[in-house]
Amino acid sequence: MYRYLDRSRKKTDHLLRLVLLASLCGIPGAATAQTPGTDQLSGKLVVTGASTLAPLISEISKRFERLYPNVRVDVQTGGSSRGVADARQGLADIGMVSRAMKDEEKDLHAFLVARDGVGIIVHKDNPVQALTDEQVVAIYTGRVTNWKEVGGKNAPITVVNKAEGRSTLEVFLHYFKLKNADVKAQVVIGDNEQGVKTVAGSRYAIGYVSIGTAEYDESQGVPIKLLPTGGVTASTETVRNGTFPISRPLHIVTQTPPAGLTKAFIDYTRSKAVHDIITQQYFVPLVD
């Protein structure tokens, strides 16, 4: 889906550039933030990007709007790649990117908002208590296809992988030094919650999702369990203290150095005033 979007984007790029010039003022989002008045900010911000970050930034912007009643922050979703593309093209004031910034994205100004850990999950009834990194790689590359080979029951393994363009996929592949083409998956899914549901509904499945999501669902009685990675328990606590190896930063990015309303919003997003919202959305706030 996202790939299609990207391709169609490229095709329309030339057209877009022409049109953008003409209609820049017409696009509400592109109408850049106004400079703050004495104490009262006003204007409209458009934030687009990672679906992982969208509910969090959405909640933060609601609180921000209550603080400054003349401000409107519109949060749109669509994936990290879109956050980067929209921020670059000026279609959004701020982009949301739920992974580390790539080298070719150095032109953007990135701000860390919170952290998120990616944990391996299996069904609760699965007797396997831990998997080594090599075992995980073997399972995901199709070299191990039965649970009994890694100390479980005699049952085929259902491998659940994330769809292309998802940051969780990139974080996972990066840690295990895999290429997506090497992964032999039976099920390909999109969002975190979908991953949890797939594993909860299939006794012999293995998948990986955001730790915050998995931890919450586990506490709600969803039949899944988080496996430790590299001997470290997968929990928001180990992500916060930096010991959990597979974790990812959650960024918001801008094309130009932020000023005015954009700066005020970014500062607020990174302030202690929103730590409760970050925890509420099962992410891990930054250590200050």
Partner: protein, 287 residues
């Protein structure tokens, strides 16, 4: 009675009997299961507050007030645009062009192709054309217009069928009475074609109100109460999708929202079929 018994003694008849009733039962059971599941999980969360309050904590708590308003506005824009265009095109196709006419054939063919285009393609088109080229941005207007493009083929084709179902004798009698083309159309053909239009409307509205892919890139994700048609507004289907697939712990409210969506659909379908039977159709029958 005796005949039935003797027929059922034949094993082939038995098989056919079981197959026909089994499939019918299966279809009905699927629907009942689906509805039952939504009712079971969703009914306890439905309250007046849920229908009117804004969502809180990414939709896990709170209600769907602003989302219902956005959905209604998107649907309103969609119908306000698609109905006149749809009826106009259908009149042209059914009343002013013959079946063999090249223009008519090409229009029909392109409509049939459009009707089969996946909604994500309409979404991307809407995003590029309405949001960017026309500069409407993420807005209820962009979403409604995108849906209108999506609904038009269905609406036009079934309205056209409605016009074609009107007996030729109506037109001949009207011509014999010396009625003008316009009078015949407005007072005779249009009321008689209403059932076809309503079928198209029900199918179209059903497709539009359940749409996610076409709306996520056009009307957007913002769950604030919309202040104008140029504001971004989250549709009910996107809310359900986000709650069930992106927000952990959003299941309860996702079910409740799904229940509201199903009830809305049933209400719209019910109203349309009531109108078809008792309301608008009667006008022509009593004349």
């Amino acid at each position: 009675m005796i005949k039935t018994v003797s027929r059922l003694q034949n094993p082939r008849e038995w098989l056919a009997f079981i197959f026909v009733w089994g499939t019918a039962g299966f279809v009905t059971a699927t629907f009942c299961w689906l509805l039952g599941d939504i009712l079971w999980h969703g009914l306890s969360h439905i309250s007046w507050t849920f229908l009117t309050a804004p969502p809180e904590n990414a939709g896990r708590r709170g209600g769907i007030g602003p989302i219902l308003v956005s959905t209604a506005l998107i649907l309103g824009v969609c119908l306000a645009v698609s109905l006149p265009i749809g009826i106009g095109t259908a009149v042209l196709l059914a009343e002013f062009t013959s079946n063999q006419n090249l223009f008519g054939r090409m229009t029909r063919r392109s409509l049939d192709v459009l009707a089969g285009v996946p909604s994500i393609v309409f979404g991307l088109f809407g995003n590029v054309f309405f949001c960017k080229t026309l500069g409407l941005g993420f807005s209820i207007l962009s979403g409604g217009l995108t849906l209108a493009c999506m609904v038009l083929p269905i609406l036009i084709r079934s309205t056209e069928e409605g016009f074609r179902a009107v007996p030729a004798s109506y037109r001949l009698s009207a011509a014999a009475l010396g009625l003008s083309h316009t009078t015949t159309l407005v007072h005779l053909l249009l009321p008689a074609a209403i059932p076809g239009l309503l079928v198209g409307l029900v199918l179209g509205v059903g497709r539009a109100i359940a749409e996610t892919a076409a709306l996520i890139f056009t009307s957007g994700y913002v769950d604030r109460m919309p202040e104008s048609l140029l504001d971004s507004g989250r549709a009910l289907s996107i809310h359900i999708f986000d709650l069930s697939m992106n927000v952990s712990g959003g299941d309860a409210n996702a079910y409740a929202s799904a229940l509201v969506l199903v009830v809305l659909l049933l209400l719209i379908n019910g109203t349309a079929s009531w109108l078809a039977t008792y309301g608008l159709h009667r006008k022509i029958v009593t004349v």
